[in-house]
């Protein structure tokens, strides 16, 4: 299978801060890839870099191959055609991403006209179908509603409908459920999975929630302080984590079996982005650290097909996790 999108050695520098460093991953057709990490891990930056949605001051290096073309080198007009066309994006805050003075219907038909040349009655019919597809009841009438007339969950559905208007092959989702209640979050995640299957599109899902990764993603890349620490199929990452940070993250989430017991929390804090330690950036917080970890950043190395870790002590981590 050839990858739909191949990100190679992506680095993003914002002034003195290296926000993303040497990140590589592939997205296969029809899969949900998770980018998971805590604040400052670079997960959202990575996602935005794909569509060149970063601030002007950002210095981006690396290649992002989309069906053989490098998005990083694409002229702006062609990229604009791709944005919201073959590649669409949804954000955490639908209220800030939606235009508050345009009806939801108009925002969908705009995209239909721009990317598919659909206008008039045909566009309105398609727009209603899209709202219906994302589970907005009474879709035809709701085309005339403004974003503020929708609840948070309905706004997120509307934003997904707009994103789907041009029939994207890849949907980028940046913490799409973080601001929502748990039952609504569950509805939106199930909706994304259904749409992925029905429309055979791929999804990159950025999240800080390991539970969402476990329930939604096929593969995952775990980011820390701008770098990929580990990547692999979700069953492997949760069943047999091979990076000390991944194991620490999993152990930080309370489980039913350890109620009212001390969690094996990761001590300390992520490094100051202006003072990244020279070796493995997780070393100062790591329980498996050895002298070898302090001199250079360990590169990602493959453990099995599709499973790679940047941990020098992966064997010890896997023994502990087993």
């Amino acid at each position: 299978m050839t990858a739909l999108l191949s990100v190679r050695n992506l680095s993003v520098r914002l002034g003195p801060v290296m926000a993303v460093q040497d990140v590589s991953f592939d997205v296969e057709p029809g899969e949900v890839l998770g980018l998971v990490g805590e604040s400052g891990s670079g997960k959202s930056m990575t996602l935005r870099a794909i569509l060149r949605l970063l601030p002007q001051a950002a210095d981006v290096e690396g290649a992002m191959l989309w069906r053989g073309r490098d998005l990083a080198a694409l002229p702006e007009p062609e990229l604009r055609q791709l944005r919201g066309g073959e590649i669409a994006i949804v954000f955490q805050e639908p209220m800030t991403a939606l235009d508050p003075v345009l009806t939801v219907g108009l925002q969908i038909t705009e995209s239909l006209a721009e990317h598919l040349g659909l206008r008039g009655r045909a566009a309105r019919t398609r727009a209603a179908e899209l709202l219906d597809l994302v589970g907005i009841p009474d879709a035809r009438r709701r085309l005339g509603s403004y974003p503020h007339e929708f609840s948070g969950g309905m706004r997120q559905r509307a934003m997904i409908a707009i994103a789907l208007a041009a029939g994207p092959k890849l949907l980028l989702a940046d913490e799409p459920t973080t601001a929502l209640d748990v039952t609504i979050q569950d509805q939106i995640l199930k909706l994304l999975l259904r749409l992925r299957a029905e429309l055979s599109m791929s999804v990159i899902l950025v999240t800080h929630d390991l539970g969402i990764v476990a329930e939604t993603c096929d593969r995952v890349a775990v980011l820390y302080s701008g770098r990929v620490m580990e990547t692999g199929p979700v069953e492997t990452i949760f069943g047999q984590p091979a990076h000390a940070y991944t194991l620490g993250l999993i152990n930080s989430v309370p489980q039913a079996s350890d109620a009212r017991q001390r969690l094996a929390a990761i001590p300390g804090m992520p490094p100051d982005p202006l003072a990244i330690p020279p070796g493995c950036r997780f070393a100062p917080r790591c329980g498996f650290v050895g002298p070898d970890c302090l001199t250079r950043q360990p590169p990602l190395r493959a453990l099995a097909t599709g499973h790679a870790t940047a941990c020098l002590h992966a064997d010890a981590v896997m023994r502990k996790a087993a």
Binding site: E38, S39, S151, G153, M154, D181, V182, T183, I184, Q185, D186, Q187, L189, K190, L191, L193, R194, H208, D209, L210, G211, I212, A214, E215, T216, V234, E235, F238, G239, G248, L249, I250, N251, S252, V253, P254, Q255, A256, D258, A259, R260, Q261, R262, L263, A264, A265, I266, P267, M269
Partner: protein, 324 residues
């Protein structure tokens, strides 16, 4: 725990907010944030209050520390009628019951060093003699896992997790008996959240503190709570021990919440949403059981008659016509 008199007892608490503005008025539509809330907290126990936005859980927390006035209901704390407290008695109550908020930055004075802030609390409530204040501040900082030199720094010099430690230290400085914690780990990264959960468990055991822990995160609630109250549209719809509520939930809303919370086992996925529909407008709470429009098992009686609590042998209770 249930045999002794509870530390705090709340009976039938009610509070409405006018839909626009903050002045209560009978003429305007009223959001019933608390619509008859009854619960108890025993000494040394953690009661978690869980629910989605608009269920009234934060209003409840604020009402218990008298940041919000109630329209009706009674709160007893160690035998005293809290709503009637004035003057010194109210100040004493405000020392014995401490609140910690979700955003520690908003609740810490930005111009006071951590040492000044903790020292002020100790001085105002005369917790230790003046000569002992500096050493007590150092003890408090050590207790919450901060370095002693934190005392000379301002709040903005700390990370979110450290600020939450400062807020905890300040709450504990006055030796309270009950801690009211409103979503205090919700905005923290998971690795920092785990550190704060460990700290709370350790302090609670060591100091014998009671805690009302408000959260929307079921994983965190299960980890900390002895007992759990589930709120929906201003009412406690289920209340029981944590084991009982999580392992054998009685109310269909609790059952849906538990199914909706993402688990950590990739193999146990479902492609069906746990609960359809959205929260109804709190301005128009449905008649009968407030949950009936979203309930997958509702029958005719649910649409007209508010369910009386059903109680299991262990005291686990739920407001559902069909609960067993």
């Amino acid at each position: 725990m249930s045999a002794a008199a509870p530390l705090l007892r709340a009976d039938d608490l009610a509070r409405g907010f006018a839909a626009r503005g903050i002045v209560w008025s009978g003429a305007r539509p009223v959001v019933r944030a608390l619509n008859g809330v009854t619960l108890t907290i025993a000494r040394g126990e953690t009661l978690a209050v869980v629910g989605e936005s608009g269920c009234g859980k934060s209003t409840l927390a604020r009402a218990l520390v008298r940041l919000i006035a109630l329209d009706a209901g009674r709160i007893d704390f160690a035998g005293e009628d809290v709503r009637a407290l004035r003057g010194d008695a109210l100040r004493r109550y405000n020392r014995r019951v401490q609140m910690i908020f979700q955003d520690p930055y908003g609740s810490l004075n930005p111009r006071m060093t951590v040492g000044e802030m903790l020292g002020e609390a100790l001085r105002v409530h005369r917790i230790v003699p003046s000569a002992r204040i500096a050493s007590r501040v150092a003890e408090l900082l050590a207790m919450v896992g901060l370095a002693a030199d934190a005392a000379s720094h301002l709040p903005h010099e700390f990370s979110g997790g450290q600020r939450q430690r400062i807020a905890i230290a300040r709450a504990l400085s006055v030796e309270p008996e009950l801690l009211i914690a409103d979503e205090i780990v919700s905005s923290l990264d998971v690795s920092i959240q785990a550190q704060i959960l460990n700290l709370l468990l350790e302090l609670q055991t060591r100091l014998g503190l009671a805690m009302l822990f408000v959260s929307h995160d079921l994983r965190v609630v299960r980890h900390l709570a002895h007992r759990v109250a589930v709120m929906y549209l201003g009412r406690v719809v289920e209340l029981g021990t944590a084991e009982s509520v999580f392992d054998a939930p009685m109310h269909p809303y609790t059952q849906a919440l538990l199914r909706a919370a993402p688990g950590m086992q990739p193999g146990r996925r479902s492609d069906k949403a746990a609960l359809a529909g959205e929260l109804p407008s709190p301005l128009a709470i449905p008649p009968g059981c407030p949950f009936h429009p979203r309930c997958p098992i509702a029958i005719d009686v649910c649409r007209v008659e508010r369910p009386a609590p059903r109680v299991r042998a262990d005291g686990h209770r739920a407001e559902c016509h069909l609960a067993t």
